[in-house]
Protein backbone atom coordinates (compact mmCIF):
# COMPACT_ATOMS: atom_id res chain seq x y z
CA UNK A 1 0.00 0.00 0.00
CA UNK A 2 2.96 2.28 0.69
CA UNK A 3 3.98 1.99 -2.94
CA UNK A 4 0.54 2.76 -4.29
CA UNK A 5 0.42 5.73 -1.94
CA UNK A 6 3.83 6.91 -3.19
CA UNK A 7 2.67 6.72 -6.80
CA UNK A 8 -0.43 8.72 -5.93
CA UNK A 9 1.60 11.40 -4.13
CA UNK A 10 3.99 11.43 -7.08
CA UNK A 11 1.17 12.08 -9.53
CA UNK A 12 -0.06 15.00 -7.44
CA UNK A 13 3.48 16.38 -7.04
CA UNK A 14 3.70 16.17 -10.81
CA UNK A 15 0.97 18.80 -10.91
CA UNK A 16 3.28 21.31 -9.22
CA UNK A 17 6.09 20.45 -11.64
CA UNK A 18 3.69 20.91 -14.53
CA UNK A 19 2.91 24.37 -13.14
CA UNK A 20 6.65 25.17 -13.10
CA UNK A 21 6.89 23.85 -16.63
CA UNK A 22 3.78 25.36 -18.24
CA UNK A 23 5.17 28.92 -18.24
CA UNK A 24 8.52 27.70 -19.56
CA UNK A 25 6.81 25.70 -22.29
CA UNK A 26 4.57 28.64 -23.25
CA UNK A 27 7.33 31.19 -23.86
CA UNK A 28 9.50 28.63 -25.62
CA UNK A 29 6.59 27.81 -27.91
CA UNK A 30 5.80 31.42 -28.74
CA UNK A 31 9.28 32.93 -29.07
CA UNK A 32 11.86 30.11 -28.68
CA UNK A 33 13.10 31.79 -25.52
CA UNK A 34 14.41 29.65 -22.69
CA UNK A 35 14.21 31.70 -19.54
CA UNK A 36 17.01 30.59 -17.23
CA UNK A 37 15.58 32.86 -14.51
CA UNK A 38 12.23 31.02 -14.63
CA UNK A 39 12.84 29.20 -11.33
CA UNK A 40 13.94 32.41 -9.67
CA UNK A 41 10.73 34.08 -10.83
CA UNK A 42 8.82 31.25 -9.11
CA UNK A 43 10.71 32.01 -5.90
CA UNK A 44 10.17 35.76 -6.41
CA UNK A 45 6.44 35.00 -6.63
CA UNK A 46 6.68 33.02 -3.38
CA UNK A 47 8.36 35.94 -1.58
CA UNK A 48 5.87 38.40 -3.01
CA UNK A 49 3.05 36.22 -1.64
CA UNK A 50 4.83 36.12 1.72
CA UNK A 51 5.01 39.92 1.85
CA UNK A 52 1.36 40.32 0.81
CA UNK A 53 0.18 37.75 3.36
CA UNK A 54 2.21 39.32 6.15
CA UNK A 55 1.27 42.95 5.44
CA UNK A 56 -2.41 42.46 4.70
CA UNK A 57 -3.00 39.57 7.06
CA UNK A 58 -4.90 37.56 4.44
CA UNK A 59 -4.56 33.91 3.46
CA UNK A 60 -2.22 32.75 0.68
CA UNK A 61 -5.01 32.01 -1.78
CA UNK A 62 -6.74 35.41 -1.56
CA UNK A 63 -3.22 36.86 -1.86
CA UNK A 64 -3.06 35.30 -5.33
CA UNK A 65 -5.50 37.98 -6.49
CA UNK A 66 -2.76 40.54 -5.85
CA UNK A 67 0.38 38.50 -6.57
CA UNK A 68 -0.72 37.06 -9.93
CA UNK A 69 -1.50 40.44 -11.60
CA UNK A 70 1.65 41.99 -10.09
CA UNK A 71 3.85 39.22 -11.48
CA UNK A 72 2.07 39.38 -14.84
CA UNK A 73 2.80 43.11 -15.02
CA UNK A 74 6.41 42.46 -14.08
CA UNK A 75 6.63 39.80 -16.78
CA UNK A 76 5.22 42.17 -19.39
CA UNK A 77 7.68 44.92 -18.46
CA UNK A 78 10.59 42.48 -18.33
CA UNK A 79 9.89 41.26 -21.85
CA UNK A 80 9.17 44.68 -23.27
CA UNK A 81 12.15 46.48 -21.73
CA UNK A 82 14.81 43.81 -21.56
CA UNK A 83 14.19 40.46 -23.20
CA UNK A 84 12.75 41.64 -26.53
CA UNK A 85 16.08 43.31 -27.25
CA UNK A 86 17.90 39.98 -26.91
CA UNK A 87 15.74 37.96 -29.30
CA UNK A 88 17.24 37.12 -32.66
CA UNK A 89 19.18 34.45 -34.48
CA UNK A 90 21.92 34.30 -31.86
CA UNK A 91 20.95 32.22 -28.84
CA UNK A 92 23.69 33.58 -26.62
CA UNK A 93 22.17 36.98 -25.63
CA UNK A 94 18.82 35.70 -24.27
CA UNK A 95 20.54 32.84 -22.49
CA UNK A 96 23.17 35.00 -20.84
CA UNK A 97 20.81 37.88 -20.04
CA UNK A 98 18.32 35.57 -18.30
CA UNK A 99 21.23 33.86 -16.54
CA UNK A 100 22.39 37.27 -15.28
CA UNK A 101 18.82 38.05 -14.27
CA UNK A 102 18.73 34.82 -12.29
CA UNK A 103 21.81 35.84 -10.29
CA UNK A 104 20.40 39.35 -9.76
CA UNK A 105 17.04 38.03 -8.47
CA UNK A 106 18.71 35.47 -6.18
CA UNK A 107 21.04 37.98 -4.61
CA UNK A 108 18.34 40.65 -4.44
CA UNK A 109 16.14 38.26 -2.44
CA UNK A 110 19.14 37.33 -0.32
CA UNK A 111 19.74 41.00 0.51
CA UNK A 112 16.09 41.67 1.35
CA UNK A 113 15.08 38.47 3.11
CA UNK A 114 18.37 36.80 4.24
CA UNK A 115 19.19 33.16 3.54
CA UNK A 116 16.72 31.86 6.16
CA UNK A 117 14.17 29.51 4.72
CA UNK A 118 10.57 30.69 4.83
CA UNK A 119 7.16 29.12 4.65
CA UNK A 120 3.71 30.44 3.95
CA UNK A 121 1.18 29.25 6.54
CA UNK A 122 -2.12 28.29 4.96
CA UNK A 123 -4.05 27.17 8.02
CA UNK A 124 -5.90 23.85 8.40
CA UNK A 125 -5.83 23.11 4.65
CA UNK A 126 -2.14 22.24 5.00
CA UNK A 127 -2.89 18.99 6.83
CA UNK A 128 -6.42 18.25 5.61
CA UNK A 129 -6.77 15.02 3.68
CA UNK A 130 -9.40 12.82 2.13
CA UNK A 131 -9.28 9.16 3.12
CA UNK A 132 -9.64 6.61 0.32
CA UNK A 133 -9.64 3.56 2.55
CA UNK A 134 -6.88 0.97 2.99
CA UNK A 135 -4.70 3.61 4.66
CA UNK A 136 -4.45 5.65 1.50
CA UNK A 137 -5.18 9.33 1.87
CA UNK A 138 -4.95 12.24 -0.48
CA UNK A 139 -3.94 15.64 0.88
CA UNK A 140 -6.35 18.43 0.00
CA UNK A 141 -3.48 20.79 -0.79
CA UNK A 142 -1.71 18.47 -3.28
CA UNK A 143 -5.11 17.77 -4.85
CA UNK A 144 -5.74 21.50 -5.18
CA UNK A 145 -2.27 21.88 -6.73
CA UNK A 146 -2.97 19.19 -9.27
CA UNK A 147 -6.37 20.64 -10.10
CA UNK A 148 -4.76 24.05 -10.58
CA UNK A 149 -2.23 22.55 -13.00
CA UNK A 150 -4.95 20.81 -15.02
CA UNK A 151 -7.02 24.02 -15.06
CA UNK A 152 -4.06 26.15 -16.15
CA UNK A 153 -3.15 23.76 -18.97
CA UNK A 154 -6.74 23.37 -20.14
CA UNK A 155 -7.07 27.15 -20.00
CA UNK A 156 -3.93 27.63 -22.06
CA UNK A 157 -5.11 25.10 -24.65
CA UNK A 158 -8.42 26.95 -24.91
CA UNK A 159 -6.66 30.28 -25.16
CA UNK A 160 -4.44 28.98 -27.95
CA UNK A 161 -7.36 27.46 -29.84
CA UNK A 162 -10.15 29.98 -29.39
CA UNK A 163 -8.93 33.51 -28.69
CA UNK A 164 -7.34 36.14 -30.91
CA UNK A 165 -4.38 36.32 -28.51
CA UNK A 166 -3.96 32.56 -28.90
CA UNK A 167 -4.06 32.97 -32.67
CA UNK A 168 -1.36 35.63 -32.41
CA UNK A 169 0.72 33.25 -30.26
CA UNK A 170 0.37 30.48 -32.82
CA UNK A 171 1.21 32.81 -35.66
CA UNK A 172 4.40 34.15 -34.09
CA UNK A 173 5.31 30.60 -33.09
CA UNK A 174 5.05 29.45 -36.71
CA UNK A 175 6.89 32.38 -38.22
CA UNK A 176 7.51 35.57 -36.28
CA UNK A 177 8.55 37.62 -39.32
CA UNK A 178 5.49 36.75 -41.38
CA UNK A 179 3.26 37.37 -38.37
CA UNK A 180 4.72 40.86 -38.13
CA UNK A 181 4.08 41.43 -41.83
CA UNK A 182 0.44 40.48 -41.23
CA UNK A 183 0.15 43.36 -38.81
CA UNK A 184 0.94 41.78 -35.45
CA UNK A 185 3.12 43.74 -33.07
CA UNK A 186 5.56 41.01 -32.05
CA UNK A 187 6.96 43.04 -29.17
CA UNK A 188 3.49 43.16 -27.64
CA UNK A 189 2.65 39.52 -28.44
CA UNK A 190 5.90 38.34 -26.84
CA UNK A 191 5.31 40.55 -23.81
CA UNK A 192 1.78 39.13 -23.43
CA UNK A 193 3.23 35.60 -23.55
CA UNK A 194 5.75 36.50 -20.85
CA UNK A 195 3.01 38.15 -18.76
CA UNK A 196 0.95 34.97 -18.99
CA UNK A 197 3.99 32.88 -18.14
CA UNK A 198 4.71 35.08 -15.12
CA UNK A 199 1.09 34.80 -13.96
CA UNK A 200 1.39 31.00 -13.98
CA UNK A 201 4.76 31.35 -12.26
CA UNK A 202 3.10 33.42 -9.51
CA UNK A 203 0.53 30.68 -8.95
CA UNK A 204 3.30 28.06 -8.87
CA UNK A 205 5.22 30.27 -6.42
CA UNK A 206 2.28 30.42 -4.03
CA UNK A 207 1.83 26.65 -4.11
CA UNK A 208 5.57 26.19 -3.61
CA UNK A 209 5.49 28.53 -0.61
CA UNK A 210 2.56 26.75 1.01
CA UNK A 211 3.82 23.25 0.31
CA UNK A 212 7.43 23.47 1.46
CA UNK A 213 10.19 25.67 2.80
CA UNK A 214 11.85 27.97 0.32
CA UNK A 215 14.84 30.32 0.35
CA UNK A 216 16.46 32.69 -2.17
CA UNK A 217 18.55 29.83 -3.63
CA UNK A 218 15.52 27.59 -4.33
CA UNK A 219 15.07 28.87 -7.88
CA UNK A 220 17.50 26.82 -9.96
CA UNK A 221 16.11 23.45 -8.91
CA UNK A 222 12.54 24.66 -9.74
CA UNK A 223 13.85 25.63 -13.17
CA UNK A 224 15.42 22.20 -13.55
CA UNK A 225 12.24 20.33 -12.52
CA UNK A 226 10.17 22.41 -14.92
CA UNK A 227 12.71 21.90 -17.71
CA UNK A 228 12.76 18.14 -17.12
CA UNK A 229 8.96 18.02 -17.28
CA UNK A 230 9.05 19.92 -20.61
CA UNK A 231 11.67 17.63 -22.17
CA UNK A 232 10.14 14.39 -20.83
CA UNK A 233 6.72 15.46 -22.09
CA UNK A 234 8.00 16.59 -25.49
CA UNK A 235 8.48 20.13 -26.76
CA UNK A 236 5.40 22.10 -27.68
CA UNK A 237 2.80 19.85 -26.08
CA UNK A 238 1.13 21.30 -22.97
CA UNK A 239 -0.62 18.06 -21.99
CA UNK A 240 2.71 16.34 -22.61
CA UNK A 241 4.23 18.73 -20.10
CA UNK A 242 1.69 17.60 -17.53
CA UNK A 243 2.56 13.99 -18.32
CA UNK A 244 6.26 14.88 -17.98
CA UNK A 245 5.61 16.46 -14.60
CA UNK A 246 3.76 13.35 -13.46
CA UNK A 247 6.54 11.01 -14.63
CA UNK A 248 9.05 13.15 -12.73
CA UNK A 249 6.83 13.30 -9.64
CA UNK A 250 6.30 9.51 -9.57
CA UNK A 251 10.02 8.84 -10.05
CA UNK A 252 10.88 11.14 -7.16
CA UNK A 253 8.16 9.81 -4.86
CA UNK A 254 9.11 6.16 -5.49
CA UNK A 255 12.81 6.87 -4.94
CA UNK A 256 12.03 8.77 -1.73
CA UNK A 257 10.22 5.63 -0.57
CA UNK A 258 13.49 3.69 -0.95
CA UNK A 259 15.84 6.35 0.44
CA UNK A 260 15.11 10.09 0.81
CA UNK A 261 18.66 10.80 -0.40
CA UNK A 262 17.80 9.38 -3.82
CA UNK A 263 14.63 11.41 -4.41
CA UNK A 264 15.99 14.24 -6.55
CA UNK A 265 18.71 12.11 -8.14
CA UNK A 266 16.15 9.56 -9.36
CA UNK A 267 14.17 12.33 -11.09
CA UNK A 268 17.30 13.46 -12.95
CA UNK A 269 18.16 9.89 -13.93
CA UNK A 270 14.68 9.27 -15.32
CA UNK A 271 15.11 12.46 -17.33
CA UNK A 272 18.38 11.15 -18.82
CA UNK A 273 16.79 7.76 -19.43
CA UNK A 274 13.95 9.31 -21.43
CA UNK A 275 16.47 11.47 -23.28
CA UNK A 276 18.34 8.28 -24.24
CA UNK A 277 15.32 6.22 -25.24
CA UNK A 278 13.00 8.90 -26.61
CA UNK A 279 15.09 12.00 -27.37
CA UNK A 280 12.03 13.97 -28.45
CA UNK A 281 10.06 13.20 -25.32
CA UNK A 282 6.84 11.29 -24.83
CA UNK A 283 4.48 13.49 -26.85
CA UNK A 284 6.60 15.69 -29.13
CA UNK A 285 4.89 18.30 -31.25
CA UNK A 286 7.72 20.49 -32.42
CA UNK A 287 11.49 20.58 -32.85
CA UNK A 288 13.80 22.54 -30.64
Amino acid sequence: MDWLNAVLQGVLLGGLYALFAAGLSLIFGVMRLVNVAHGDLVVLGAYLALVVVQTLGIGPFPAALIVVPLMAGFGYALQRLLLNVTLGKDLLPPLLVTFGLSVIIQNGLLTLFSADSQRLPAGPIETASIGLGNGIGVGVLPLLMFAAAVTVIAGLELLFARTSLGRAFRATSDDAEIAQLMGLDNRHVFAMAMALSAAIVALAGIFLAVRANFDPASGPSRLIFGFEAVIIGGLGSLWGTLAGGIVLGIAQALAAQIDPGFQILAGHLVFFLILTLRPRGLFPRMDG
Binding site: L82, L91, L92, L95, L96, I104, T111, S221, L275, G288
Partner: protein, 339 residues
Amino acid sequence: MSISAHAVERATRTSRLAGIASLFIVAALIAAPWWAGRANLRLLGEIYSFLALASLWNLLAGYTGLVSVGQQAFVGLGGYTLFAAAMVLGVPPLLAIVLAGIAGALVALPLAPLLFRLQGAYFAIGTWVAAEVFRLTFAQISMLGGGSGTSLPAGIVTGIAATRNLRDMIVYWHALGLGLGIVTAVYMILRSRTGLALTAIRDSETAAESLGIDIGRTKLAIYVLTAGLTAMTGALIFLQKLRISPDAAFSVNDWTAYVIFMVVIGGIGTIEGPLVGTLLFFLLRETLADLGTVYLMLLGAVAVSVMLKAPKGLWGLFSSATGITLFPIRRHVVPANTR
Protein backbone atom coordinates in the same frame (compact mmCIF):
# COMPACT_ATOMS: atom_id res chain seq x y z
CA MET B 1 52.04 45.43 -58.24
CA SER B 2 52.02 41.67 -58.42
CA ILE B 3 50.40 39.31 -55.99
CA SER B 4 53.79 38.08 -54.84
CA ALA B 5 54.56 41.52 -53.44
CA HIS B 6 52.02 40.78 -50.71
CA ALA B 7 52.20 38.39 -47.84
CA VAL B 8 49.48 36.98 -45.65
CA GLU B 9 50.28 37.30 -41.99
CA ARG B 10 48.62 36.84 -38.66
CA ALA B 11 51.03 38.71 -36.43
CA THR B 12 50.82 42.48 -36.14
CA ARG B 13 53.39 44.87 -34.65
CA THR B 14 51.34 45.09 -31.43
CA SER B 15 51.00 41.34 -31.20
CA ARG B 16 54.78 40.94 -31.58
CA LEU B 17 55.38 43.56 -28.90
CA ALA B 18 52.76 41.84 -26.73
CA GLY B 19 54.57 38.55 -27.26
CA ILE B 20 57.86 40.02 -26.05
CA ALA B 21 56.21 41.80 -23.11
CA SER B 22 54.42 38.61 -22.10
CA LEU B 23 57.77 36.81 -21.84
CA PHE B 24 58.87 39.34 -19.22
CA ILE B 25 55.53 39.08 -17.39
CA VAL B 26 55.72 35.28 -17.34
CA ALA B 27 59.30 35.45 -16.03
CA ALA B 28 58.14 37.78 -13.24
CA LEU B 29 55.22 35.46 -12.42
CA ILE B 30 57.51 32.42 -12.27
CA ALA B 31 59.62 34.34 -9.77
CA ALA B 32 56.53 35.36 -7.74
CA PRO B 33 57.33 33.10 -4.75
CA TRP B 34 60.35 35.34 -4.11
CA TRP B 35 58.59 38.68 -4.37
CA ALA B 36 54.97 38.02 -3.40
CA GLY B 37 53.71 37.20 0.07
CA ARG B 38 51.88 34.01 0.94
CA ALA B 39 48.42 35.57 0.60
CA ASN B 40 49.26 37.12 -2.76
CA LEU B 41 50.65 33.84 -4.01
CA ARG B 42 47.31 32.22 -3.19
CA LEU B 43 45.44 35.02 -4.91
CA LEU B 44 47.60 34.62 -8.03
CA GLY B 45 46.96 30.88 -7.99
CA GLU B 46 43.24 31.53 -7.85
CA ILE B 47 43.50 34.02 -10.73
CA TYR B 48 45.28 31.42 -12.90
CA SER B 49 42.56 28.85 -12.15
CA PHE B 50 39.81 31.25 -13.14
CA LEU B 51 41.73 32.38 -16.20
CA ALA B 52 41.88 28.73 -17.25
CA LEU B 53 38.15 28.16 -16.60
CA ALA B 54 37.24 31.38 -18.42
CA SER B 55 39.38 30.53 -21.47
CA LEU B 56 37.89 27.06 -21.66
CA TRP B 57 34.30 28.27 -21.33
CA ASN B 58 35.02 30.88 -23.99
CA LEU B 59 36.29 28.17 -26.34
CA LEU B 60 33.14 26.17 -25.67
CA ALA B 61 30.49 28.93 -25.79
CA GLY B 62 32.17 31.70 -27.76
CA TYR B 63 33.74 29.64 -30.52
CA THR B 64 31.94 26.28 -30.59
CA GLY B 65 28.43 27.49 -29.80
CA LEU B 66 28.08 25.01 -26.93
CA VAL B 67 26.73 27.29 -24.21
CA SER B 68 27.13 25.20 -21.09
CA VAL B 69 26.04 26.32 -17.65
CA GLY B 70 27.18 23.00 -16.22
CA GLN B 71 30.97 23.18 -16.37
CA GLN B 72 30.96 22.88 -12.57
CA ALA B 73 30.31 19.19 -13.28
CA PHE B 74 33.90 18.83 -14.48
CA VAL B 75 35.45 21.19 -11.92
CA GLY B 76 33.89 19.09 -9.17
CA LEU B 77 34.66 15.79 -10.88
CA GLY B 78 38.31 16.84 -11.21
CA GLY B 79 38.49 17.87 -7.56
CA TYR B 80 36.91 14.64 -6.38
CA THR B 81 39.10 12.52 -8.67
CA LEU B 82 42.18 14.10 -7.11
CA PHE B 83 40.90 13.44 -3.58
CA ALA B 84 39.82 9.88 -4.40
CA ALA B 85 43.05 9.03 -6.22
CA ALA B 86 45.18 10.45 -3.41
CA MET B 87 43.18 9.07 -0.49
CA VAL B 88 42.00 5.71 -1.80
CA LEU B 89 44.62 4.73 -4.38
CA GLY B 90 47.58 6.54 -2.84
CA VAL B 91 48.46 8.40 -6.04
CA PRO B 92 50.71 11.46 -5.45
CA PRO B 93 48.40 14.51 -5.69
CA LEU B 94 50.36 16.25 -8.44
CA LEU B 95 50.12 13.13 -10.60
CA ALA B 96 46.45 12.87 -9.73
CA ILE B 97 45.86 16.18 -11.56
CA VAL B 98 46.58 14.33 -14.81
CA LEU B 99 44.27 11.48 -13.76
CA ALA B 100 41.54 14.06 -13.11
CA GLY B 101 41.92 15.33 -16.67
CA ILE B 102 41.59 11.81 -18.06
CA ALA B 103 38.56 11.15 -15.86
CA GLY B 104 36.88 14.37 -17.03
CA ALA B 105 37.39 13.50 -20.69
CA LEU B 106 36.25 9.90 -20.20
CA VAL B 107 33.04 10.98 -18.50
CA ALA B 108 32.37 13.68 -21.12
CA LEU B 109 32.69 11.21 -23.99
CA PRO B 110 29.42 9.30 -23.38
CA LEU B 111 27.69 12.32 -21.82
CA ALA B 112 28.18 14.59 -24.83
CA PRO B 113 26.06 12.66 -27.39
CA LEU B 114 23.23 12.59 -24.86
CA LEU B 115 23.39 16.32 -24.15
CA PHE B 116 23.80 17.15 -27.85
CA ARG B 117 20.25 15.85 -28.33
CA LEU B 118 19.12 19.04 -26.62
CA GLN B 119 19.11 22.14 -28.78
CA GLY B 120 20.50 25.57 -27.91
CA ALA B 121 19.38 26.84 -24.55
CA TYR B 122 17.95 23.46 -23.57
CA PHE B 123 21.47 22.07 -23.99
CA ALA B 124 22.58 24.64 -21.43
CA ILE B 125 20.05 23.50 -18.84
CA GLY B 126 20.82 19.85 -19.67
CA THR B 127 24.47 20.40 -18.73
CA TRP B 128 23.25 21.86 -15.46
CA VAL B 129 21.18 18.73 -14.75
CA ALA B 130 24.27 16.61 -15.43
CA ALA B 131 26.22 18.67 -12.88
CA GLU B 132 23.41 18.17 -10.36
CA VAL B 133 23.54 14.41 -10.97
CA PHE B 134 27.27 14.48 -10.17
CA ARG B 135 26.72 16.59 -7.04
CA LEU B 136 23.97 14.32 -5.69
CA THR B 137 26.00 11.20 -6.55
CA PHE B 138 29.14 12.37 -4.77
CA ALA B 139 26.99 13.34 -1.77
CA GLN B 140 26.12 9.63 -1.50
CA ILE B 141 29.73 8.38 -1.44
CA SER B 142 30.53 8.04 2.25
CA MET B 143 34.18 7.14 1.57
CA LEU B 144 34.64 10.74 0.37
CA GLY B 145 32.74 12.29 3.25
CA GLY B 146 29.24 12.14 1.77
CA GLY B 147 27.29 15.39 1.86
CA SER B 148 29.63 17.17 4.27
CA GLY B 149 32.80 16.49 2.30
CA THR B 150 36.34 15.71 3.39
CA SER B 151 39.80 17.20 3.86
CA LEU B 152 43.01 15.98 2.28
CA PRO B 153 44.85 14.08 5.09
CA ALA B 154 48.00 15.75 6.44
CA GLY B 155 50.14 12.79 5.39
CA ILE B 156 49.24 13.29 1.74
CA VAL B 157 49.71 17.06 1.94
CA THR B 158 53.19 16.79 3.43
CA GLY B 159 53.96 14.22 0.76
CA ILE B 160 53.97 17.04 -1.83
CA ALA B 161 56.84 18.76 -0.02
CA ALA B 162 58.03 18.74 3.55
CA THR B 163 57.78 22.45 4.36
CA ARG B 164 54.76 24.65 3.86
CA ASN B 165 56.74 27.26 1.91
CA LEU B 166 58.05 24.73 -0.57
CA ARG B 167 54.58 23.22 -0.91
CA ASP B 168 53.03 26.61 -1.65
CA MET B 169 55.69 27.23 -4.28
CA ILE B 170 55.16 23.89 -5.99
CA VAL B 171 51.38 24.21 -6.07
CA TYR B 172 51.73 27.81 -7.29
CA TRP B 173 53.96 26.79 -10.20
CA HIS B 174 51.57 24.04 -11.16
CA ALA B 175 48.71 26.55 -11.19
CA LEU B 176 50.75 28.96 -13.28
CA GLY B 177 51.77 26.19 -15.66
CA LEU B 178 48.21 24.94 -16.04
CA GLY B 179 46.79 28.45 -16.52
CA LEU B 180 49.38 29.39 -19.14
CA GLY B 181 49.18 25.96 -20.73
CA ILE B 182 45.42 26.18 -21.15
CA VAL B 183 45.48 29.72 -22.57
CA THR B 184 48.19 28.62 -25.00
CA ALA B 185 46.27 25.46 -25.89
CA VAL B 186 43.10 27.44 -26.65
CA TYR B 187 45.13 29.84 -28.79
CA MET B 188 46.81 26.99 -30.69
CA ILE B 189 43.47 25.25 -31.27
CA LEU B 190 41.99 28.42 -32.71
CA ARG B 191 44.97 28.84 -35.05
CA SER B 192 44.76 25.23 -36.21
CA ARG B 193 42.53 23.62 -38.84
CA THR B 194 40.03 22.85 -36.08
CA GLY B 195 39.94 26.55 -35.23
CA LEU B 196 39.18 27.39 -38.82
CA ALA B 197 36.44 24.75 -38.78
CA LEU B 198 35.02 26.26 -35.59
CA THR B 199 34.88 29.72 -37.13
CA ALA B 200 33.13 28.26 -40.16
CA ILE B 201 30.60 26.42 -37.99
CA ARG B 202 29.95 29.57 -35.96
CA ASP B 203 29.31 31.63 -39.10
CA SER B 204 27.11 29.08 -40.86
CA GLU B 205 26.59 25.45 -39.93
CA THR B 206 25.08 24.62 -43.30
CA ALA B 207 27.91 26.18 -45.29
CA ALA B 208 30.51 24.55 -43.04
CA GLU B 209 28.94 21.13 -43.48
CA SER B 210 28.79 21.51 -47.25
CA LEU B 211 32.53 22.17 -47.24
CA GLY B 212 33.12 18.84 -45.59
CA ILE B 213 33.43 19.82 -41.95
CA ASP B 214 32.12 17.13 -39.64
CA ILE B 215 30.20 19.37 -37.23
CA GLY B 216 29.24 16.66 -34.75
CA ARG B 217 32.79 15.37 -34.47
CA THR B 218 34.31 18.83 -34.11
CA LYS B 219 31.86 19.77 -31.36
CA LEU B 220 32.39 16.46 -29.60
CA ALA B 221 36.17 16.85 -29.73
CA ILE B 222 36.04 20.36 -28.27
CA TYR B 223 33.52 19.35 -25.59
CA VAL B 224 35.61 16.37 -24.46
CA LEU B 225 38.88 18.32 -24.53
CA THR B 226 37.34 21.19 -22.58
CA ALA B 227 35.90 18.76 -20.04
CA GLY B 228 39.31 17.16 -19.47
CA LEU B 229 41.12 20.47 -19.07
CA THR B 230 38.33 21.84 -16.84
CA ALA B 231 38.66 18.76 -14.64
CA MET B 232 42.45 19.31 -14.38
CA THR B 233 41.78 22.91 -13.33
CA GLY B 234 39.22 21.66 -10.80
CA ALA B 235 41.76 19.22 -9.37
CA LEU B 236 44.24 22.04 -8.94
CA ILE B 237 41.65 24.36 -7.37
CA PHE B 238 40.83 21.79 -4.70
CA LEU B 239 44.49 20.92 -4.21
CA GLN B 240 44.90 24.59 -3.25
CA LYS B 241 41.86 24.46 -0.96
CA LEU B 242 42.79 21.06 0.59
CA ARG B 243 39.11 20.53 1.37
CA ILE B 244 36.20 19.41 -0.81
CA SER B 245 32.44 19.05 -0.40
CA PRO B 246 29.70 18.39 -2.97
CA ASP B 247 28.21 21.88 -2.64
CA ALA B 248 31.59 23.61 -3.06
CA ALA B 249 32.79 21.28 -5.81
CA PHE B 250 29.67 21.53 -7.96
CA SER B 251 28.77 25.15 -7.20
CA VAL B 252 27.09 26.78 -10.18
CA ASN B 253 27.86 30.26 -8.83
CA ASP B 254 31.58 29.77 -8.27
CA TRP B 255 32.53 27.74 -11.33
CA THR B 256 30.01 28.86 -13.90
CA ALA B 257 28.27 32.15 -13.04
CA TYR B 258 31.50 33.99 -12.18
CA VAL B 259 33.24 32.48 -15.17
CA ILE B 260 30.44 33.50 -17.53
CA PHE B 261 30.49 37.03 -16.14
CA MET B 262 34.26 37.24 -16.66
CA VAL B 263 34.04 36.09 -20.25
CA VAL B 264 31.01 38.20 -21.15
CA ILE B 265 32.35 41.39 -19.57
CA GLY B 266 35.84 40.85 -21.00
CA GLY B 267 34.59 39.85 -24.44
CA ILE B 268 33.13 36.54 -25.53
CA GLY B 269 34.57 35.07 -28.71
CA THR B 270 37.91 36.85 -28.29
CA ILE B 271 41.01 35.25 -26.76
CA GLU B 272 41.92 38.41 -24.86
CA GLY B 273 38.38 38.71 -23.40
CA PRO B 274 38.70 36.05 -20.67
CA LEU B 275 42.07 37.55 -19.64
CA VAL B 276 40.64 41.07 -19.36
CA GLY B 277 37.48 39.77 -17.66
CA THR B 278 39.38 37.67 -15.12
CA LEU B 279 41.69 40.54 -14.15
CA LEU B 280 38.75 42.94 -13.88
CA PHE B 281 36.76 40.44 -11.83
CA PHE B 282 39.53 40.04 -9.29
CA LEU B 283 40.23 43.78 -9.21
CA LEU B 284 36.55 44.41 -8.42
CA ARG B 285 36.38 41.55 -5.96
CA GLU B 286 39.40 42.74 -4.00
CA THR B 287 37.92 46.24 -3.74
CA LEU B 288 34.19 45.57 -3.49
CA ALA B 289 33.97 42.18 -1.79
CA ASP B 290 32.66 43.84 1.40
CA LEU B 291 29.44 44.61 -0.43
CA GLY B 292 28.63 40.88 -0.45
CA THR B 293 25.42 40.08 -2.28
CA VAL B 294 25.16 43.61 -3.69
CA TYR B 295 28.49 43.01 -5.43
CA LEU B 296 27.05 39.95 -7.15
CA MET B 297 23.95 41.87 -8.22
CA LEU B 298 26.17 44.61 -9.64
CA LEU B 299 28.26 42.06 -11.47
CA GLY B 300 25.13 40.45 -12.91
CA ALA B 301 23.78 43.84 -13.97
CA VAL B 302 27.07 44.80 -15.61
CA ALA B 303 27.17 41.47 -17.48
CA VAL B 304 23.57 41.93 -18.66
CA SER B 305 24.22 45.46 -19.92
CA VAL B 306 27.47 44.45 -21.61
CA MET B 307 25.62 41.61 -23.35
CA LEU B 308 22.96 44.07 -24.54
CA LYS B 309 25.06 47.10 -25.41
CA ALA B 310 28.45 45.63 -26.35
CA PRO B 311 28.12 41.91 -27.14
CA LYS B 312 31.86 41.62 -27.83
CA GLY B 313 32.66 42.90 -24.34
CA LEU B 314 35.20 45.42 -23.18
CA TRP B 315 37.99 43.91 -25.24
CA GLY B 316 35.77 43.94 -28.31
CA LEU B 317 35.10 47.66 -27.82
CA PHE B 318 38.80 48.37 -27.30
CA SER B 319 39.91 46.19 -30.18
CA SER B 320 37.48 47.62 -32.72
CA ALA B 321 38.39 51.17 -31.67
CA THR B 322 42.16 50.62 -31.87
CA GLY B 323 42.55 47.62 -34.15
CA ILE B 324 44.81 46.01 -31.56
CA THR B 325 44.91 42.24 -31.06
CA LEU B 326 47.31 40.54 -28.69
CA PHE B 327 46.72 36.98 -29.82
CA PRO B 328 46.60 37.10 -33.61
CA ILE B 329 44.22 34.53 -35.09
CA ARG B 330 42.94 36.40 -38.11
CA ARG B 331 44.99 36.62 -41.25
CA HIS B 332 45.57 39.91 -42.99
CA VAL B 333 47.39 41.00 -46.12
CA VAL B 334 50.62 42.96 -45.75
CA PRO B 335 52.29 44.65 -48.74
CA ALA B 336 55.80 43.20 -48.99
CA ASN B 337 57.66 46.53 -48.86
CA THR B 338 56.26 47.48 -45.44
CA ARG B 339 57.45 44.32 -43.75
